[in-house]
């Protein structure tokens, strides 16, 4: 099933909460409202004919006035790949986790929390994964400013041959 067939199937279940299929560049996807995420992924994973059982990645993007999350699903049975997107507010972004449907989502959501600051409700273990626990800020945001020093170590090196 490609993205258009999936869209026409899914729109029957969730009328009004799914946008049309958009093609941007070489990628086709559709938006969904963040409230229906659990039921939508349950349908995509278990319905015969779709069976998208493999979650490839969850990417978080900082569009200047809101955040976006991109989900990529593979169906090995039918050999297809689809992309889905959802929009989140810039202040206090939160969405329900899908780590009880896909085990792989747990680490991807932790990475989105760490680098972008998106909170996933009901996540079993939401904490920083890549950065040290006492790091301040979320680096992938466009308005991230680096601090001057980290526990006394300077973060910029102006003279290569020589110390500070």
């Amino acid at each position: 099933m490609n993205i258009n067939e999936v869209h026409s199937e899914v729109v029957k279940f969730f009328p009004g909460k799914i946008s049309d299929v958009i093609t941007s560049g070489k990628l086709s996807f559709f938006y969904f409202d963040r409230e229906i995420i659990y039921d939508l992924f349950l349908v995509l994973r278990d319905k015969i004919g779709m069976e998208f059982k493999h979650l490839s990645y969850i990417a978080s993007v900082d569009m200047k006035d809101h955040f976006e999350l991109i989900y990529c699903l593979y169906s090995y049975r039918w050999g297809s790949v689809i992309h889905l997107k959802t929009r989140l507010n810039r202040e206090g972004p939160h969405i329900r986790t899908i780590s009880d449907l896909f085990v792989a989502a747990e680490w991807h959501e932790r990475e989105a929390y760490d680098l972008m600051g998106i909170v996933f409700n009901d996540h079993p273990d939401l904490r920083r994964i890549m950065l040290p626990d006492d790091f301040e800020g979320h680096p992938l945001r466009k308005d991230f400013v680096e601090k001057d020093n980290y526990h006394g170590i300077p973060t910029r090196r102006d003279k290569i041959l020589g110390r500070f």
């Binding site: 560049g25 070489k26 990628l27 991109i70 990529c72 050999g79 085990v103 273990d125 904490r127 920083r128």
Partner: protein, 380 residues
């Protein structure tokens, strides 16, 4: 929540907390495992990553497209050609450039040589973790020959920076072709048979690897595993056959799938044998490629300043460790707006966390080594 809170939340009495720290001879790179065990049987092995997080995705937003290619090498330095290939393929799709056929053949030859080199290191270090030092040196010896070939081809031994947007950087000549075919004559079947006789059918390796970390096919798909890990669990999925790209449809090769060669389907021994068979198939592909390289140019016509039109693309290749994909979002300017890198080792860490419950500490080492993880793929 911090790490201490997470550990304290599940603490029990009469439990040992063991730290397989970031500097350890048998974790593949700087990865830390906090092992909770009562004696010899483990309750949980909690992975802590991030010791090699260099912020490559943020650096992509500050670097022009053509200047980002050396950064992609460092995402997985053992299989750097694939990382280059995936990124360059994505940008070419956005720009609508068609790559000349000679360049595609050169890309395939370089990639498959890189796959052999990467599997040699991974099999060698798996044997080294079990305790045998000699197989590692066997792998290193063959890898030196491949390093010589790539040095003649592009000038570097480890981080190649060989592919360019629109083609490749250097052309191949008869001396290099002769060297590749000499290497293949020596490799297949001579080296593979010797390797199998010494190591793959070795009783000690078999006894240490069989029935350790068995992952069934439904679990493997749910965990997000890709590459040889997925194929060893019985799922026949290879991006070169199922979603073909480049000139792979023109070559004849098989995709090895795990069948429970000595134990159950999807255990560590299956993952070992699948990698050995993949090396054979790569050698066959290279043999077919070097006998039929077409003439032509190695670089397409590319504009001086690369500014793809606004849009998105997702391009993936089948790397030595699974699917390596780049999701590039462009907004019409010189730098990418967002570049998300999807690697195979990141999802494998969660599988190790779950499968380590209830096995011995010595088996944890075998499990980690058989999943073939490298630290920069996890942390980027």
């Amino acid at each position: 929540m911090t790490l201490e809170e997470r550990l304290n939340a599940v603490k029990r009495d009469n439990e040992i907390l063991l730290n397989m720290g970031p500097q350890h001879p048998s974790t593949h790179g700087v990865i830390r495992f906090i092992v909770r065990s009562d004696g010899e049987i483990m309750v949980e092995a909690l992975p802590v990553v991030g010791y090699l997080h260099r912020g490559i995705e943020k650096l992509a937003e500050m670097t022009p497209y053509a200047g980002f290619i050396p950064y992609t090498d460092r995402v997985d330095y053992l299989a750097a050609m694939f990382c280059n290939h995936a990124f360059v393929m994505g940008v070419e799709r956005l720009l609508g450039i068609e790559v000349p056929r000679r360049a595609e053949y050169l890309r395939v030859i370089a990639s498959e040589l890189n796959r052999i080199a990467s599997h040699l290191i991974s099999l060698g270090s798996m044997a080294m973790d079990i305790g045998a030092f000699t197989p590692f040196l066997h792998g290193i010896r063959e890898r030196e020959l491949i390093n010589d070939i790539t040095e003649m081809l592009c000038g570097a031994r480890l981080t190649y920076n060989y592919m360019r947007i629109g083609g490749v950087s250097n052309d191949i000549n008869d001396k290099i072709l002769k060297k590749i075919s000499d290497f293949l004559d020596r490799f297949l079947p001579g080296f593979i048979e010797e390797f199998n006789r010494l190591i793959t059918y070795n009783e000690i390796l078999v006894k240490r690897c069989v029935n350790i970390g068995t992952i069934s096919s439904e679990e493997a798909i749910n965990f997000g595993l890709v590459g040889p890990n997925l194929r060893a669990s019985g799922v026949k999925w290879d991006l070169r056959k199922n979603m073909p790209y480049s000139v792979y449809p023109e070559f004849k090769f098989e995709v090895p799938v795990g069948e429970g060669f000595r134990g159950s389907v999807g255990d560590s021994y299956d993952r070992f044998v699948v990698r050995v068979k993949e090396m054979e198939e790569s050698a066959k592909i290279i043999r077919q490629a070097i006998s039929s390289i077409p003439d032509g140019e190695i670089m397409a016509k590319v504009p001086k300043r690369i500014k793809p039109p606004a849009g998105e693309v997702y391009s993936a290749v089948e790397s030595a460790r699974g699917e390596l994909g780049y999701h590039i979002i462009s907004d019409g300017l010189e730098n990418p707006y967002r570049c998300k890198i999807r690697t195979g080792s990141f999802s494998a860490m969660k599988a190790i966390h779950i499968k380590s419950q209830g096995c011995f500490i010595a088996d944890l080492v075998v499990l980690i080594a058989s999943m073939d993880i490298v630290a920069p793929e996890i942390d980027r």
